[in-house]
């Protein structure tokens, strides 16, 4: 019986919300929405040297992102030698695979990539809650009905966390930010051994 109580207690604790666990203070904001500026300029070809570590294997190549219309992006990946591995189109409510190498054509992989890249390309986000983290603001928003927390430092977006059941699932870190371009981006998954590192080679 005591064990049951203890485990129920643990259950409650572990089911606490992400902001609670991170000691984020609920706060008021006049803002209705926030902006991710990093892939928002349709005149820029966003090209990144990418290094992907997955299950102790390492792959590299070029990740290419282009805003082709309002709320519409192309995201493609090629090897350094130019072979295309995949090419996706993201629109507000839709996702399309234009091309994927047969060896990579796995539903689970495509879903993971879709979710991660949608965070990169979604520009305008409606705020559902706002918090403060020490002195900086944190905004809660939903992408694909999943909670995402946007961390800003000195008015720059530096981190996005996707959470599930109060736990951090994926962390996106933006650094070396200049002129609305994040020259370093890290996407780290907590529940699977997957890490994507992007370094800009924008020409």
């Amino acid at each position: 019986m005591r064990f049951l109580l203890i485990s129920i207690c643990f259950l409650f604790i572990s089911c606490g919300s992400y902001p609670k666990k991170q000691h984020l203070e609920l706060s008021d904001t006049p803002l209705k929405s926030i902006e991710n500026p990093y892939f928002s300029d349709a005149s820029i070809d966003y090209v990144y040297k990418a290094s992907i570590d997955v299950y102790k294997r390492n792959f590299s190549g070029l990740l290419i992102i282009k805003k082709i219309a309002e709320e519409q992006h192309r995201v493609a990946f090629t090897t350094e030698m130019g072979n295309k591995l995949f090419d996706f189109t993201f629109t507000k409510d839709n996702f399309q695979v234009n091309f994927i190498l047969e060896e990579l054509d796995k539903n689970l992989l495509i879903q993971v990539l879709e979710k991660d890249f949608r965070v990169l390309v979604t520009q305008n986000l409606i705020i559902s809650n706002s918090y403060t983290n020490i002195q900086y603001p944190v905004y809660q928003t939903q992408i694909n009905n999943k909670n995402h927390y946007y961390f800003f430092e000195d008015n720059e977006l530096t981190k996005v966390v996707r959470s599930k059941y109060g736990k951090e699932k994926v962390r996106f870190l933006f650094s070396e930010i200049k002129h609305r371009i994040a020259h370093q981006i890290k996407i780290k998954h907590q529940n699977i051994p997957l890490e994507i590192n992007l370094k800009s080679i924008i020409q």
Partner: protein, 205 residues
């Protein structure tokens, strides 16, 4: 009307710029290239790679050096805008990605194996294999251009055509790989040195 005339003029110019070779001219080019390939023991060359994706404003440009030694050692070394080298040696790909070293066994991967053969043959220019490709020959300015369209269904899913441009000596000066979508990778060779001694150490990462 004047516009139409202008248009026709330019279209006919474009046609003139690239005309089909006669059978004898094509045979002569084939012989020249094969001879050149036979006497080529090493190639050392600068290259500029243009990756064209239709949705981008500009091609992605990278630069580096190519080293080739018979029978089948190849090293592609990119120095701009990043450092990345890949060596094709026997059945293995050796990769050095800004210091991060990696190997891929091609023995288990048919696609990589085919790619390796194609790369070596396209560098030498010697891919005149009628059983694997539909081949057509063109004259373009002073140069010769040959189009290779893969016959194999699996290859043609990834590559619609290879286009090689040869100079008058029979050296490959440009390779263009066109994907079915129309996107392509173009590699232009400059400062090409033939048969310069290359130590095996060049082909280690």
């Amino acid at each position: 009307m004047r516009k139409v005339v202008f248009l026709l003029f330019f279209v006919s110019l474009a046609i003139q710029a690239q005309t089909k070779m006669s059978v004898t001219e094509a045979e002569a080019l084939k012989t020249l290239v094969k001879q050149q390939a036979l006497t080529t023991k090493t190639i050392y060359s600068d290259f500029t790679q243009y990756k064209h994706l239709d949705f981008l404003s500009n091609d992605i440009v990278s630069k580096g050096k190519l080293a080739f030694k018979t029978p089948n050692l190849v090293k592609w070394e990119y120095t701009e805008p990043y450092n990345y080298a890949v060596i094709f040696k026997n059945e293995t790909l050796f990769i050095n990605d800004e210091g991060k070293k990696n190997q891929i066994d091609m023995g288990s991967n048919k696609m990589f194996k085919e790619l390796n053969t194609l790369i070596i043959n396209s560098i030498k220019g010697d891919m005149f294999d009628d059983t694997a490709f539909d081949i057509s020959y063109y004259k373009k300015d002073k140069h010769h251009e040959v189009h290779f369209i893969p016959k194999d269904k699996k290859s043609s899913k990834y590559i619609q055509a290879f286009q090689l441009i040869f100079n008058t000596k029979g050296d490959v000066i440009e390779v263009k790989m066109i994907e079915p979508s129309g996107d392509f990778t173009k590699i232009v060779f400059t400062n090409r040195e033939l048969n310069k001694p290359l130590a095996d150490a060049v082909f280690t990462n």
